[in-house]
Symmetry: C2
C-alpha cells in the first residue's frame, strides 16, 4: 500500500484537500454517533477530480466515503476507520437552466436542496421534495439515501424524481446516465438502483431531476382528530375526495405538541381545544378555478359529522399557514430539547398506522412503563417517526434502547412495513436488517455490492456487511 | 446434463406441462419474429412450483424463459434455443382483497391487466396503467418489462406502481419482498431493479401494487393542433394550468389518422377540419367540485387565441369520449392493415418532441425518400412511437429497416432520450444498446446479470449478452 495523500493533493490542489483539524466539520455524523478521523477530506471541484480521487484511493486500498450535507441519521457518510478519505461534494454546486417544457433540470450533487428551491422560484417551477434538513442536505446525499419527506406520498421519493444520473463507479470510471426522460427501458434501471445505495455502489456527481409547475393556490388546515384511527379514515377520505390536490398530510400527537410548546417559546397553538392527534392537511392546485377552500371546508364538515374531526381551522393567511407547519416541523426539536430521545423510522401500510401505534404503545410500555411515545410523520405513505422520550421524571431509557428498536422493527416487519422507511440503513441499522429481512434478500444485496465494488473500497461497512 | 422433462412432469402434474404441438401458442412472440420450440411449457400453479421448475432446470443446465401474456414487442419472452423451458405464469391468477385505506392490492403475476381493472371497479379504486395490450398482458410481464402506457406521465411506470414483489431467483430460491409500503429504504431497491429486468434476474411471481381512487368525473377533448411545436407548447401549458387532473395527453398525426380511417370502416372522425397533428386531452378528478369542463374549455380557448389549436371539441358523452380514444388507439392497427411497417419506441425530453420529429423526418427521407412517417404516443413523457410505412405505392422498405432504426436511435440518444422507451430491449435491441450506450453502462449491467445469475440460465440472450 502506498501513501496516497501526496497524490490526492496533486489531483485536488490546495483548495481541494483538508487535513488535520480542518477535517473536524466533516468527521462526525449529524447525531454525533459515528466518525473516525480520516486521512483527509477531498473536496473535488468536478467529476473528473472525483474519478481521479476514487481511482487513487482504490489503488492504494484506501476506503472512500462520499459525503453530501452530512445530515443523514444513520451514520452512512462518515468514516469508521482512519485509512479512509471522505469525498465531500460540497464544492460541486452548479445548477443548470430548468427546461419548463420538459419539466427537468440538471444539477450537481453538491447543490443544497433549499438552494435549488430558491433557484426554481422565478421560473414558476418546483422540485417537490421537502424535509426538515433541506437547508443543509445536498442533492447527492438525498439521492444516495433515497430521501422521502412530506410530499413523497404524492410526488414520490428521490428515486421517482431522478430522471438521469452521472456516477463515478468504485473503480473510478464515470457513468454518464444524464438522460432527461422518464421512459428509458434500455436495460436494468441503474438510475433507480443508485438511489438509496448510500454511496456503496458509486458516487453520484450530477443528476437530472423532474420538476413540476408551482401551484397557484393552496389551502391548509390544522385539525384535531378524535384518535389515530380517525386520522387514518379521514386521510383515506381525503385521498378519494381531493387526491389530486393533496400536497400535505402530516400528523403529530399531543405528546409532541406539548413538548414543542414547552420548549419553543415563540410557538403558538391557536385552536380552542386539544386532542390526542393532529392532522395538517394541505391542498394545492395549478388552476385558480378549483375551489380549494370549499373542498377543504366540506371535507372538514364531513369529518366532524362522522365524529373523526373534533376541532379545526383553515389557515387564513400565509403567516397562519406557516404557524401550522411549524407545529409539525418543530416536533423533532421540541423532543430534542426535552433531553434523551430514541428515534425510530417506521413505515407501515397507511391503513395500519393506528394499529401500529396502538400495538407499539403496548410493546414499549412492557419494556419501560411510562415511556413517552411521540409518533409523528407522513400519513399518506404510512411513515411514522415513532420517537420516544423517557418516562416523566427520568432522564434515560434504563439501557433499553436496543429492546425498543428491535420490538418496533419486528412489529413493522410483521405488518408489511419497514424499520428503515426513509433514513436508510447506514452503519446504524445493518444488524437490524440482517435480523428482520430474509437471508436471501441480504444475500442478493451482498451480491450486488460485490458485483459493483469487488475490492470493497466504496463506503465499506455501510448498508451491507463486507462478509455477507 | 440429465434430461429434466420427467422431473418437471412430476413437479407440475399433467395440467402443468405442455409439449409437442401444445407448445405452439407459446412458442412465437407477438410480432412473430422470434421463438424456437422449447422442451416444453411449464404452467406452474403456484410459487413453490415455479421455484422447483427453476431449480430443476438450473441443475440440468436448461434455460428458463418466463412468459406472461406474451404481448412484448422485443422477443424477450420466447426461447432462442431448444434446450429451454418456457415458464408461463398464466395459471397464477389470484387477486387479493384491495386495501382502500392503504391504496394497495396483492396480485399473482399471471393476472391479466384488464381483469385487474374490472376486479377493482366495484371498490371505487383503480390501477392506473393503460396500454393497448391490456386485454392480454399479465402483471408479471408488465413488471418484467417496466411497462409505461398512456398514464405513465402522471402515475408513473410499473416501477413506480410496485410496492412489493415476490421473485423466484435464478437458483430457485424465493425472495419474499411482498411489503406494502412506498417508503422502504432498508437496503438496495431490489423491487425497482426487478422492474424492467425482463426476467433475466429472476421470475416475478406476485406483487403488491399501488392503487388510486377512481375519479368521479372526467372531461375529454380532441384537438387539431397547428403543428407538433404547438402540441408541445400546449402540453406544457396544460401541465401548469391543470397538471393535477391531467389523465391523458396523447398525440397522433394525420398520416396515422388517414390510415386508421381507411382501414377501419366503423371509425368516425367528427371534427370539421383536419390538420397535421391531433391531441387527445383528458382531465379527471376525484372531486365533483372541480369545474373540469370549464377548465378544459378555457385552455382550449387560450390555445386557439395563441394559434396553437385550430379546431377542437369536448366529448359530450361517454360514447363520444370512446370514439376519441379509438382514434388514438387504432393507430397501430390502421398502420398494420396498410401492410409492412417499422416500429420505433423512442423517448425524448417532452419539450424536444417537435424537434425530434422534424429531424427524424429529414433523416428518414434521406434514407428512403417518401417514406411515410406516423409518429404517435404520449406527449406528457416524450414517448414517441415513431412508426414508418413504405412510400406510397411501395410495399417494402428496400432493405433499409436497420438504417432507419440506427438513425433514429442515434438521434434520440443525442437528444437525451432513449431508443427503448417502454418496450425494453428483449432480444431485438441488445446490439442497438451496445452501440448507443457507453461500454461502462453495458458493463455494469453485465455485472448485475452475472451477480444474480452466474450460471446464465435465466432468460439468456435477453437484455445483456452473456459474454458482456
Amino acid at each position: 500500500m502506498t501513501d496516497p495523500v501526496g497524490e490526492l493533493q496533486t489531483i485536488l490542489g490546495p483548495k481541494g484537500w483538508l487535513s488535520g483539524t480542518d477535517v473536524e466539520p466533516y468527521r462526525r455524523d449529524w447525531l454525533n454517533r459515528y466518525g473516525v478521523a480520516p486521512l483527509g477530506v477531498a473536496r473535488p471541484a468536478n467529476t473528473a477530480e472525483v474519478a481521479a480521487v476514487v481511482k487513487a484511493c482504490r489503488e492504494a486500498g484506501v476506503a472512500v466515503i462520499p459525503q453530501g450535507g452530512n445530515t443523514g441519521l444513520c451514520g452512512g457518510a462518515v468514516a469508521d476507520q482512519a485509512n479512509a478519505v471522505i469525498i465531500s461534494l460540497s464544492r460541486m454546486t452548479a445548477i443548470g437552466e430548468p427546461d419548463p417544457e420538459s419539466g427537468s433540470i440538471a444539477v450537481d450533487a453538491g447543490v443544497v436542496l433549499a438552494t435549488l428551491h430558491e433557484a426554481l422560484e422565478p421560473h414558476g417551477l418546483m422540485f417537490p421534495m421537502h424535509l426538515g434538513a433541506e437547508g443543509s442536505a445536498r442533492i447527492g446525499g438525498l439521492i444516495g439515501t433515497n430521501a422521502g419527506g412530506s410530499q413523497a406520498f404524492r410526488y414520490g421519493m428521490m428515486q421517482d424524481l431522478v430522471l438521469g444520473l452521472e456516477v463515478v463507479t468504485p473503480n473510478g470510471e464515470i457513468w454518464d446516465g444524464l438522460r432527461a426522460v422518464q421512459k428509458d427501458n434500455a436495460g436494468y434501471q441503474l438510475r433507480k438502483l443508485f438511489c438509496g445505495a448510500e454511496g456503496t455502489l458509486g458516487i453520484v456527481t450530477r443528476a437530472v431531476l423532474r420538476l413540476y409547475p408551482t401551484p397557484r393556490q393552496q389551502a391548509s388546515a390544522l385539525l384535531v382528530m378524535s384518535d389515530f384511527a380517525a386520522a387514518v379514515s379521514f386521510g383515506a377520505f381525503l385521498r378519494s375526495e381531493a387526491g389530486e390536490f393533496l400536497a400535505g398530510l402530516e400528523f403529530f400527537s399531543d405528546v409532541g405538541l406539548a413538548l414543542a410548546l414547552k420548549h419553543l417559546q415563540d410557538l403558538a397553538y391557536q385552536l380552542e381545544s386539544r386532542g390526542d392527534v393532529y392532522l395538517l392537511v394541505e391542498l394545492a392546485s395549478g388552476s385558480t378555478r378549483v375551489p380549494l377552500d370549499e373542498i377543504l371546508n366540506s371535507a372538514l364538515e364531513w369529518g366532524m359529522e362522522q365524529g373523526l374531526v373534533t376541532d379545526g381551522a383553515l389557515a387564513n393567511s400565509g403567516a397562519q399557514r406557516a404557524q401550522f407547519w411549524r407545529l409539525r416541523e418543530e416536533q423533532p426539536e421540541g423532543q430534542r430539547l426535552e433531553g434523551e430521545q430514541l428515534k425510530h423510522d417506521i413505515s407501515v401500510p397507511p391503513g395500519a398506522i393506528a394499529r401500529f401505534i396502538e400495538a407499539g404503545t403496548g410493546l414499549c410500555n412492557d419494556i419501560l412503563p411510562g415511556v413517552r411515545i411521540n409518533p409523528f410523520g407522513h400519513l399518506g405513505d404510512g411513515n411514522i417517526h415513532y420517537n420516544l422520550s423517557p418516562p416523566e421524571g427520568r432522564s434515560d431509557f434504563n439501557g433499553k434502547a436496543g429492546a425498543f428498536a428491535e420490538a418496533l422493527a419486528a412489529l413493522a416487519t410483521k405488518m408489511g412495513g419497514s424499520f428503515a422507511a426513509e433514513h436508510g440503513l447506514g452503519r446504524a441499522k445493518i444488524a437490524m436488517a440482517d435480523r428482520n429481512r430474509a437471508p436471501i434478500e441480504r444475500d442478493l444485496m451482498a451480491r450486488l455490492k460485490r458485483a459493483f465494488d469487488p475490492r470493497g473500497t466504496m463506503n465499506p461497512g455501510v448498508l451491507v456487511r463486507a462478509s455477507q
